[in-house]
């Protein structure tokens, strides 16, 4: 079931949480709403669910061509997984999952036998079949998360919405659970939207990433697209680490930090120049490629790679990320002089000049 939002605005008092947001989630896709806190991503998710209403007079919400804006939250048939799970604390795991079936109007309510079968198969799906009699407070965070998911799936939702689904879990469980969620999504094939502020999570799990900032959508695209072809400075700096320089773009080239590199810029003017730490190459002697001189401030081994803090000749500090092997070969010392070669740059020209 596709989701289509058109021109949604939401204000809380004088605070504008969402400003004319339009968004389409194609049928069966897993979409991430990614942004810093206060960017409006959770509000957008709650509006899709019907837990919040958009401002009167603002746009429409459609599930597969059906306008659901007037539908009350319970009639939209959405599965919603809350950030802190919101399991019913006085009910067993079984009763939590069965809740959505038991509250149906008498005519539509399945028999006790059907409920047992259905809940049993859902608990097997989320790998919790031995725990149906447990109380929620006896479960680990990851298990609670999966109960919340099974409970949301019990009503056979037309869309599945997850608010920071892995936010409250520790790093290891988080990684396992997000891979598992991806596999589960491929199995169920229900259109899903999840909110996250973690770019790794969004890039790893989602088919499509919606980057949000200050109540607006900055860019929508597949993970590769938003990471490698960011359309705005915000997207560039929000997804991963970046080094930012001020420079000047000419047609075909850009100069910053005492270096000029080739660039396919068609525009000229003052510009922000971004280089990702992975795209910073360090040489001990000039090798002909365009580079600038820098001093090593600090070298620290950050798990799988080495991070090097550098002070450019022009005064900016920057971060480089290289492999342990490469770092060993260069024999970097604090205070040593090196040549920095930016391998790939991303340029955003401030204003257009002909």
């Amino acid at each position: 079931m596709s989701i289509e939002l058109t021109d949604i605005t939401k204000t809380f008092g004088s605070f504008v949480a969402l400003r004319n947001v339009s968004l389409t989630v194609p049928d069966g896709e897993l979409v991430a709403l990614l942004g810093p806190s206060g960017s409006g991503k959770t509000t957008l998710l709650r509006i899709i669910a019907g837990l919040e209403q958009p401002d009167p007079g603002s746009g429409s919400i459609r599930f597969h061509d059906e306008d659901v804006a007037g539908h009350r939250v319970g009639h939209r048939r959405v599965g919603f997984v809350f950030q802190h799970y919101a399991l019913f604390r006085h009910m067993s795991v079984f009763e939590n999952v069965a809740f959505g079936l038991r509250v149906r109007p008498r005519a539509a309510r399945p028999s006790e036998h059907e409920i047992r079968t259905k809940v049993g198969s859902l608990l097997r799906l989320v790998q919790l079949d031995g725990l149906s009699d447990r109380q929620p407070h006896h479960l680990s965070g990851g298990q609670r998360q999966r109960v919340a998911l099974a409970r949301a799936l019990a009503i056979e939702p037309r869309v599945l919405l997850l608010d920071e689904p892995f936010g409250a879990l520790d790093a290891k469980v988080r990684q396992e659970l997000r891979r598992w969620l991806r596999r589960l999504h491929d199995e169920l094939n229900v259109s899903s939207v999840f909110v996250t502020h973690d770019q790794d999570e969004a890039l790893e799990v989602a088919d499509r990433v919606v980057v949000m900032n200050q109540g607006g959508v900055e860019q929508v695209g597949c993970p590769d697209e938003v990471f490698h072809r960011p359309r705005t400075e915000f997207v560039m700096s929000f997804l991963g680490n970046v080094n930012r320089f001020r420079g000047r773009a000419e047609v075909g080239r850009v100069s910053f930090a005492n270096v000029a590199v080739e660039h396919d810029s068609a525009l000229a003017g003052d510009a922000s120049v971004f280089v990702r730490p992975q795209d910073v190459e360090i040489e001990t002697t000039p090798n002909g490629a365009p580079g600038f001189k820098a001093t090593v401030l600090r070298v620290h081994s950050a798990g799988p790679s080495v991070q090097v803090e550098l002070l450019a000749e022009s005064g900016e500090t920057l971060l480089a990320e290289l492999s342990h092997e490469r770092c060993g070969a260069l024999d970097l010392r604090r205070g040593g002089s090196v040549v920095v070669v930016p391998r790939r740059v991303k340029v955003f020209v401030d204003r257009r000049e002909a």
Binding site: G74, V103, A154
Partner: protein, 281 residues
């Protein structure tokens, strides 16, 4: 590799552990105080009641005016407690789950019956419904008596016992938030289903606790009821008022016999209270 040096046995005693004699002294003082000021009076109620034998005790309880007082107390509690259960849940729900103008005023108002002297609470009703009161002339024209009659006693009891249920529920409901209710709504539950299946079960122990305290106070209230009652023997005397009258008449056995029933109520209340506390943990 050197093993980490553990604390020596002498250092394992916690820094906050006092010497044994201080511990025993504190325990002895507490028990002595409780014995002198709580246990001895408790026992004296029953010994006074039974001083002239079990027959005299039963006579005191079976006296028609005593029976009338017991009935009136039970009727008052049977009206006041359910009403305050409903009002208390409604007020706690409104305060804990919604934001609205005047919310903090409502919170303070709930505490009002605790803040004013029960005698003042009683006087308020006399001023409102008494013959010289605001509504007095209208009431007497329609031949409705509130003050010095059963309705006044019920009203005063309602007023005095209002905070118990709400005060128990508000902090718990605030702590629990509204996420579970939201989850229920998304899953298709209606407002009533959400209330009965999610909100109420989550607070059931606190609710029961509040009801028990409310009931204990409703049966034991003296001050406010004394002002509005008029002390008509066999008609507008509740158990506490009846005890006072008997005592003033030097009818000690009968006074303590009725008092012992109220004391038993207190003991049952305490027992239920600790049972609920154990269950809800």
């Amino acid at each position: 590799m050197a093993a980490p040096t553990g604390p020596t046995p002498a250092a394992t005693r916690s820094a906050v552990t006092e010497p044994a004699w201080i511990k025993w002294l504190l325990i002895a003082v507490s028990i002595g105080f409780l014995g002198a000021f709580l246990f001895v009076p408790l026992v004296s109620v029953f010994t006074e009641a039974l001083r002239k034998g079990f027959g005299a005790y039963l006579d005191g309880v079976r006296d028609p005016s005593a029976l009338a007082a017991i009935t009136l107390t039970l009727v008052t509690a049977a009206i006041a407690v359910p009403l305050n259960l409903v009002f208390g849940v409604a007020a706690a729900w409104a305060i804990a789950k919604f934001r609205f103008p005047g919310r903090s005023v409502l919170v303070s108002l709930i505490d009002l019956p605790f803040a004013v002297s029960p005698v003042i609470s009683g006087l308020v009703f006399v001023l409102l419904f008494g013959l010289q009161g605001w509504l007095g002339p209208w009431l007497s024209r329609h031949d409705i008596s509130v003050v010095f009659a059963v309705p006044g006693i019920v009203l005063a009891t309602l007023f005095v016992t209002f905070p118990f249920v709400a005060r128990e529920l508000i902090p718990l409901m605030q702590e629990q938030g509204t996420e579970e209710e939201q989850a229920a709504l998304v899953l298709g539950a209606g407002g009533w289903q959400t209330f009965w299946r999610v909100t109420l079960p989550n607070v059931k122990w606190a609710l029961l606790y509040g009801v028990i305290l409310c009931n204990a106070r409703a049966m034991g209230e003296f001050g406010a009821v004394s002002v509005v009652s008029g002390h008509i023997r066999g008609q507008t005397n509740t158990m506490p008022l009846h005890v006072e009258i008997l005592y003033n008449e030097y009818n000690f056995v009968a006074a303590f016999a009725v008092a012992s029933l109220l004391t038993l109520l207190a003991l049952v209340t305490l027992g239920l209270k600790s049972l609920i506390e154990a269950r809800s943990l």
